[in-house]
Amino acid sequence: MAEATEQHAGTRRRSGDPWPPVRTGVGAWWRDHLRIARETVHFVSARLGTSLLVWLLVGIALALPAGLYLIERNLSGMTAAWEGRPGLTAYFELGANEQQIRAVVDVLEKDRAVADVSVTSPDQALAEFRRYTDLADALDLLESNPLPASLKATLAPGVETAVLDPLLDRVGSLPGVAEVVLEKTWLERVSDISSVVSRLGVILGLLFGTGALLVTATSVRLAIEARLEELKVLKLIGATERQMRRPFLYFGAFYGLGGGLLAAMLISLCLLIVEAPLSNLLGSYDQELHLAGFDAVFLGGLLTIGALLGVLGALVAARQRINDLEIL
């Protein structure tokens, strides 16, 4: 066969390519895309019920991991915001005197793990108590101030709470100190939860991303079956494989984009529902409800990922079906 081709190569060179592509000038590529985009919209809107179902399926598949991503981001945002605040609080005995308090402050200020120390005197504590509670009148009945002095030490950034144990022991054994409390439990819990959520998000993201891909692949597969006759004709009249695949990639992108949009709607619906109880919860920890991450970048990412998954699913479906197309 090779010889024969070579044998005629001279002829070919003289006359050029015997079957040059039909040249229709610049804009041909755009016209083809425009035509297919139009036909896609037409095809999808003609099967609105099916399309909506696909969007919903893809949307749910995308909403779960995306929602977890948001939760994870906000949890880690919370721990980051609290980073300057963890510290230890020492409560003094009721009769503790100035010197005893000074001695504790000295010990803490010399320690490199401690960034800042502030003392709350019994009077200040009482004033604060009056400000925050309705029990102030009850306090007036008491002869003396029942509140002890206390101090709060803020830890230097990056200090591991584990290395503080010796310091805690030492401060706790100083005269006049009633109790030393390390405020770490909440934080550790939040950071544990956030790393669990983040891993869960990755796993669910993979699982549900695959699900979204399969849903679009299946829907595109159905669309291909519905247009099999057309594909045969297209192949016969000399459409390139790329051209034959193109409408289905548009379907995939369309399904994926719609899915991304639906996912965004599902997430914002969830946010609306949990907003009130969540802000109550956070309020009790002195945190304001400020949801990070549900922004234009997040939405853009969601739509992009949706479209990409859709196109990928369509590629998978179209490749195998178009390749083994039987004509005649």
Binding site: M1, A4, T5, H8, T11, R12, S15, P18, W19, P20, P21, V22, T24, G25, G27, A28, W29, R31, D32, R35, E229, E230, K232, V233, L234, K235, L236, I237, G238, A239, T240, E241, Q243, I327, L328
Partner: protein, 236 residues
């Protein structure tokens, strides 16, 4: 040099069935020929191989001096854009109008709408269906549907026009009209190959006839009377 050359072409399917056996034929540019033979003789396989919808098991097919049997991708697509093909079950798309069906080969080349309209109307007027361009195929008679299929095959002005049993469903009168139509396209320089088992019809045309039997060429020549088996030299 002939435009189309089959050199020792054999097609054996996985089932072991041999649809073509060592076929050597050639077609000059601008010629017209009929392929005939009983059902299962290998006529469709012949055209399928020429359209590169399947590959021969052995041998080669040269078109304009190029072996087309191992082409793929874009090159194959461009090759097909220079061919026209008509079938018995015409493969018209039911959800597209006559105009849209005929315009399809032009659309995939990205031609401008204005040029498409001009070419489609020219093709439709050649087959006498200009006034039906807005209709859907199901509202046309079988003969008209076949003519729409022919218009689609010629709309991109192919150098080679292939037809597989184009008159299969038609009564003799209409069949004759269709064959005359192919002859007209041949007269303006298109190479035309028509597969048909309708002996009476093709014999009456007075053109070259290639007869296949169990995949082998048993007759090739300009002949109006096929009944006596004569030995033949295949010079076209």
């Amino acid at each position: 040099m002939a435009q189309i050359e089959f050199h020792g072409v054999t097609k054996r399917f996985d089932s072991g069935q041999e649809a073509l056996v060592n076929v050597d034929v050639s077609f000059a540019e601008g010629s017209m020929a009929f392929l005939t033979g009983h059902s299962g003789a290998g006529k469709s396989t012949f055209l399928k191989l020429l359209l590169c919808l399947d590959q021969p098991s052995r041998g080669q097919i040269l078109v304009n001096g190029v072996n087309v049997t191992r082409m793929n991708g874009r090159r194959l697509a461009h090759y097909r854009q220079h061919l026209g093909a008509v079938f018995q079950d015409h493969h018209l798309l039911g959800h597209r109008s006559v105009f849209d069906n005929v315009s399809l080969p032009l659309r995939i080349t990205g031609m401008k709408e204005k040029d498409i309209a001009r070419r489609v109307r020219a093709a439709l007027s050649r087959v006498g269906l200009l006034e039906k361009e807005r209709l859907y195929p199901r509202y046309l008679s079988t003969g008209e549907q076949q003519r729409v299929g022919i218009a689609r095959a010629v709309v991109n002005r192919p150098k080679i026009l292939l037809a597989d049993e184009p008159t299969g469903n038609l009564d003799p009168e209409l069949s004759r009209d269709i064959m005359k139509l192919f002859e007209q396209f041949n007269q303006v320089g298109t190479t035309v190959i028509v597969a048909s088992h309708d002996r009476d019809l093709i014999e009456s045309m007075g053109l070259r006839i290639i007869e296949l039997d169990q995949g082998a060429v048993i007759r090739d020549g300009v002949n109006t009377r096929l009944d006596p088996p004569v030995r033949e030299d295949a010079d076209g």
